[in-house]
Amino acid sequence: MKARRFLDESGVLIGLVVVALIFGALVGPQFFRAANLELMARQTVIVAAAALGMTMIIVSGGIDLSVGSIVSLSTVVVALLLKTHGPALAAFGAVAAGAACGAVNGLLITQLRVVPFIVTLGTMLLVRGAAKGLADERRIEAPITWLNDLLRTARDGRGWLLPTGIWITVALAIVVALMLRYTRFGRHLFAIGSNERTARLCGVRINHTKFAVYTLGGALAGLAGVMEFSKLSVGDPTVAVGLELDVIAAVIIGGGSLLGGKGSVLGTLAGAAIMVVIQVGCSQQGLPNWVQQIVTGTIIIGAVALDRWRQKST
């Protein structure tokens, strides 16, 4: 039983190691050099930050398709605020804008009783439109501040060992993981995702909890937007189209179930990393983009099928 549980929880980590070893063998030892590992970590951060929120949402049996749009809105908000305010306030404003979008999702889902897929499909367009309107359909230049260094390599002295943005994401990952496992809010998310009627019978405040989880998810997407801005150094309302699918894929590869009640932060991070390893590995091996897409697609289906098969054999 112990061994099985260990396997259940670490299956995706083993998958990550296997994928990394395969590409290590293909590309050569330089694949595991510190600089290359840091590069991959930097590439993982944006998806990973947004996927922290998505993990909570998927655990509760929901989904959020508006994540990509929130990221682009967030880059626009940072750029606009930087023109008149300091970088700290700009970053805070972007996260708040993300949280506001998430709150709208939460309100619509709980009050209109429309399923999350439909509500967030709508807000995906709404928020994208708002970002374009706010930016007047242009890229927004912004002054250079320390925000631009969030994801810059730590090898020239910035940050401690790794870029600051990675540390922020790691810290948040720990917070979210602890929250899911060790708080009432976390247990309630699992309860709602596993069986909403049971949660209701047990007096769980379903609407409050759902509102909170979508708001948190929005805030984390807002933070991912700040990182995206750091990478781009401009506010771009057309960026991160389809990012939500990468984010959802990370959660699913990491063992989350779209039926709810399942998912873990560690799994999600490993899922995000697997996709980046494939991407970086393919490009360093000189494989074209289409190979990378086919491999990633196979991994998504394979991971879920493997999970199914493992559960059936229990």
């Binding site: 060790y182 009432r184 699992f190 209701r200 019978l201 007096g203 009640g261």
Partner: protein, 522 residues
Amino acid sequence: MAETVGAAPRFEMRGVRKAFGATVALDGVDFAVHSGEVCALVGQNGAGKSTLMGILAGALKPDAGVMRVEGAPYAPRHPLDARKAGVAMIHQELSLAPHLTVMENIVLGVEPTRRGVIQRDRMRETAAAALTELGHPDISPDTVVGDLSPAGQQLVEIARALASGCRVLVLDEPTSSLSHGDVRTLFDLIGRLERQGHAIVYISHFIEEVKEVSDRYVVLRDGRNVGEGVTAQTRAEDIVGLMVGRALGDLYPRSDRTAGDAILEVEALVPGSATFTLHRGEVLGIAGLLGAGRTRLLRTIFGLEPVKSGRITIAAYSGPATPQARWRQGMGMLSEDRNGEGLARTLSIADNMTMTRLESLGPAFAVLPTRQDAAAARWIDRLAIRCSGPRQAVAQLSGGNQQKVAFARLLHHDVDVLVLDEPTRGIDVSSKAQIYKLIDELVSATSDAGLKGPRYDSTVVGRPFQGRQKAVLLVSSYFPELLGVCDRIAVMSRGRLGPARPASEWTEHALLMEASGARAAS
């Protein structure tokens, strides 16, 4: 009524036996229906009717026995087989596609086609013919089924059975979702089908309906035939007597109980037209048949469904109700729908047991898994739940053990009022006995009646039976259980709750008469 002596029956079963593990659900049942006849199959809940229906419909395989349709052997392996052999079941829950039209539903699965293309004209003809045969040409084949009333939908379902050439029509509790007028129409329709030479099996526990609609009756009890006869020559009480006919065993422990303070008062509550008072140290039973509105009454009291009018007072609290308020006030509910509502099946035993009261398992907002497991382990031990540990998923447990997990939730919360909806449905006898014993211990625990109002002490975890006497509100369709466990019993019939009377004044027979409306029929 057709003369049936000598003629081979349209359908018959001989010596059908079916066991689930150690439980024998059917023990050599014989049953036959002739053409042009309505045969009623009656029995209490748990008598084996649904198992018998499952076998008829091909959903279950009998362990022994033979079945014949018009003399030919009949051994369906799955529901489609049954359908092909001409045995059509009309269930309580209709199986129509609500977004399709009447005619699409009627020919569903046997659509008339020419080279793969559906012939809508022939489809319409078939549907119209079936509806006319039923005496309802007023229903248009082009209506979307979801727009029809429940009665209309049932008609479409019957039309579908006729259109597929059924030889035996089985109606399972067909009036449960119908209004009074629609029941009338259905009975006329059954009479019409009978005259057309159809063989009809009518399953019900409403004796008044059986008296009215059937030619013959067959009574099942504990999986055996206990009697049959011509309906017109039998009194309603005699049929009820056959259905009951059993003495109470020692399954139901009963220690000395003394009713204490009133803890739950319900006044003129709608839905349910219910007025009653529940005291500490008392088990109040609500008897009734499926569909009588008992579950709705409990759900309304617990805040899961809206109160239309009336008042619910729990000790000092009244006013609006929500499940979270009820738990806080010291009331907990066990759902009748264990899989759909009672338990979060993919979560662990510990999560399920402690879900209502996580705040006692760690500082501030935290929930410490170790304390969660410790609390759960206590109940696993106390209720002898068979599992590999507190972290095992509930879905992997047997039905009886699952029910004990659901029950343990109320114990962990240390509620004062336990609202139990069919607490022993679908569980084995030993788990049943344990639950009866538990209920008895809860209401007869050492009294500490000086305190008033429900207590909600978040620091005390897993300490049952030591506090004051609990109060139990128990709904069950199984009357021996009610008589064995309850102090007082009220009967619910057709959505109305009658007055509560001491259990000693009731008999199984009287409960069944009251619940099935037989009193009105005879």
